[in-house]
């Protein structure tokens, strides 16, 4: 169907993706890319393959790495999930807000809750944690403990 065509074109253009694409059911594609090729595959999907909608970005704490899943949707109903990994010791990735203006909100969640550094974010306040949250407490990491949260403010 439509996703077969997209998959074949993608593997043709990026030979390193051979074996990294999975189609478990109709209109659903899963692609895993290494971090250094991520931007080129993402750009191709958005600009040439018709995936004009960034549904959401998922961040996972997978031990030695953080896995990032970018869920893209096309007008014909095909949803493609582009997955990549950043190392835990140096979690850094380029922003996709130049393709999607509203994409910075998902990336700010990665910054606040998992501590991933996203380069190229437009200027803005932190989201979603409050402004007085301490600097290197990342609540959604598996090794975070509630003792890291700030103490309750004293009653007046």
């Amino acid at each position: 169907m439509e996703e077969e065509k997209t998959v074949n074109e993608l593997v043709g253009e990026f030979p390193f993706l051979d074996g990294a694409v999975r189609v478990p059911r109709a209109r659903r594609i899963f692609v895993t890319v290494p971090l250094d090729r991520f931007q080129s595959v993402f750009r191709r999907l958005v600009e040439a393959k018709g995936f004009t909608y960034l549904t959401t970005i998922t961040g996972l704490d997978t031990g030695e790495t953080f896995t990032l899943l970018y869920h893209l949707a096309a007008e014909n109903g095909v949803v493609c999930t582009l997955g990549t990994s950043v190392p835990r010791a140096n979690p850094e990735i380029e922003s996709v807000s130049r393709f999607f203006n509203g994409g910075d909100i998902y990336e700010r969640e990665l910054v606040d809750l998992l501590g991933i550094r996203v380069n190229g974010l437009p200027k803005g306040n932190r989201y979603p944690l409050p402004d007085d949250w301490p600097a290197n407490q990342y609540p959604l990491r598996k090794d975070w403990r509630p003792e890291g949260a700030p103490a309750e403010p004293a009653e007046e």
Binding site: P130, A149, P153
Partner: protein, 147 residues
């Protein structure tokens, strides 16, 4: 009680005006609060009008657990209400923090910030339970208690 105070109490019993505030809820209880104001359940027959400002309100109807961000705003809204004022905590999250108690950004139920007069549990609250809670609150006014 003097005659002036009797009239004021009578006005508050016969027509408590409410302000609805969401302090971090999923909106399930907000939908039920609005449903209680519709003709099917009709809490407006008790004289309840929903107002847009705390300065006009007798009762603060609040849903949702208190998050760190909302804490100062909720306190400020409560301070802006003129006395005597009452607070109704609608929903399990507003009573105790609900499923979110202990989460990294949640301080607990409404009573961790402001004094609460009536607790209405439920997830979401049945509009009939909201009416029951409002009637009980008004009944306690009649007996002369206040916040």
């Amino acid at each position: 009680m003097g005659i002036g105070k009797k009239i004021m109490t009578w006005a508050r019993i016969k027509s408590p005006w409410i302000l609805h505030f969401n302090s971090g809820s999923c909106n399930g209880c907000d939908i039920e609060i609005v449903a209680a104001l519709t003709p099917r359940f009709d809490v407006e027959r008790f004289g309840v009008i929903i107002r847009g400002t705390p300065r006009h309100a007798d009762v603060l109807v609040c849903s949702g657990p208190v998050t760190r961000q909302i804490r100062d705003r909720l306190k400020r809204i409560y301070d802006q209400m003129p006395s005597p004022k009452f607070v109704v905590a609608v929903g399990t999250c507003a009573c105790t923090g609900g499923v979110f108690d202990g989460c990294y950004n949640v301080l607990g139920g409404i009573d961790s910030v402001i004094p609460v007069s009536a607790y209405i549990p439920g997830c979401p609250v049945n509009p009939e339970a909201i009416i029951d809670g409002v009637v009980k609150l008004v009944g306690s006014l009649e007996e002369g208690k206040s916040a």
